[in-house]
Amino acid sequence: MTGLIQIFRRRAAPEDRFTALVRPHIRLMYRMAYRWTQNQSEAEDLVQDVLARLFPRLEELVALDKPGPWLVKVLYHRYVDLYRRRLNSPVDDSVSWSSDDTFFQERLLDERNHFHQLELKRALNRALEELDDGWRDVVLLHDVEGYSALEVAEILEINVGTVKSRLHRARKKLKAALQLGTIEGCHAC
């Protein structure tokens, strides 16, 4: 009997295996896509675009220990392709990262109680604009979404030392920006 069940399981439709593997990670992919695009509908499109190309890679997916970081890596590649590609092109038509300020604006109206915290977060998100893409990538993955330094290194295909040094320098810059921001904020009061 158990033998039969096992055979049955092994023969589960690839569509079902795909869904079972991918579904738990869709939200995380969306969040990461949002961090990069700073736009809800673009984030949704990006995830959909990535998943639509993934089904033929089912066997690759099945063989993975942790599909999460792998999926984010695929997502990252697609994001770079669509938004930052053409580094070698003579025409600069990449899209620069800019903070989703509309979203903060709406939240600020909604959450008057946490106004101060949210203002700080908005200032911080804006400060991310000033970072180099490579530094911001590390901050978004490690500090904002909580991937480990090792996972970040794997996703961005850089070594762990680079992840740590970028993180260190990026935080230093953000700290300085936040201190400036706080002072400006006080002038307004």
Partner: protein, 209 residues
């Protein structure tokens, strides 16, 4: 209190820090620095994000699966979604070089090339592109024409489209609507345009409907 102890206390994230810790922080720049870093990391870690739209997971999963298993009616819908999703838009406003080098003398810029990059996962033959402009904007060579429509074959990958936008009124900005349609699937993009009296590249944020 020594630095190790101070750092441990800081990591506890108390609502209120004790007097001896505060005393130490007043004197020790390195621990103050550490406290600031912790604050930044905590703010980053709780950075808000909007929820995806309703039914998002279901929708993306359905469009990710091969169509053979989906019933005919849903198949068409899935295909349309996949096509719409295969179009991503990147917008960048290119400001001519002579403008940015002249920072001192402010001048009125009347024409601005707005570059739009349409990214498609696969070639789209005979796609219809529609551009709608508000009344105070026009395209160079098309004065007074607010709606333009033409057919184009989009390649897989990036397709660059440059619109010579001309200002014909007092307002300094506006929004251009670009719609791409291919075999029933449609995607609309809003491109905000901002004219500036002097140099400085303005990047247009991207908004979609």
């Amino acid at each position: 209190m020594n630095c190790n102890r101070a750092k441990q206390e800081l990591e506890l994230m108390r609502e209120q820090n004790g007097g001896s810790l505060l005393h130490h922080l007043r004197q020790c720049a390195s621990c103050r620095d550490y406290a600031e870093e912790l604050r930044v990391v905590r703010l980053l870690r709780s950075m808000p994000a909007p929820e995806p739209s309703e039914g998002f997971e279901h929708r993306v999963l359905r469009s990710a699966l091969p169509q053979s298993r989906v019933e005919p009616q849903a198949r068409l819908r899935g295909w349309q979604l996949a096509t719409a999703a295969s179009l991503l838009l990147a917008v960048m406003m290119a400001v001519p070089r002579w403008q940015s080098s002249q920072s001192a003398a402010p001048q009125i810029v009347s024409t601005l090339p707005v570059s739009v990059s349409l990214d498609s996962a696969r070639p789209l033959e005979g796609a219809v592109i529609r551009v709608s402009l508000p009344s105070h904007l026009a395209l160079d060579g098309y004065p007074g024409v607010q709606d333009l429509e033409w057919q184009a074959n989009l390649n897989a990958g990036a397709n660059r489209l440059t619109l010579p936008v001309r200002l014909q009124g007092a307002e300094s900005g506006g929004e251009i609507l670009i719609e791409v349609e291919h075999e029933g699937a449609r995607k609309t993009f809003r491109v905000p345009v901002q004219f500036r009296p002097s140099g400085g590249a303005a990047t247009a944020p991207i908004q979609k409907t």
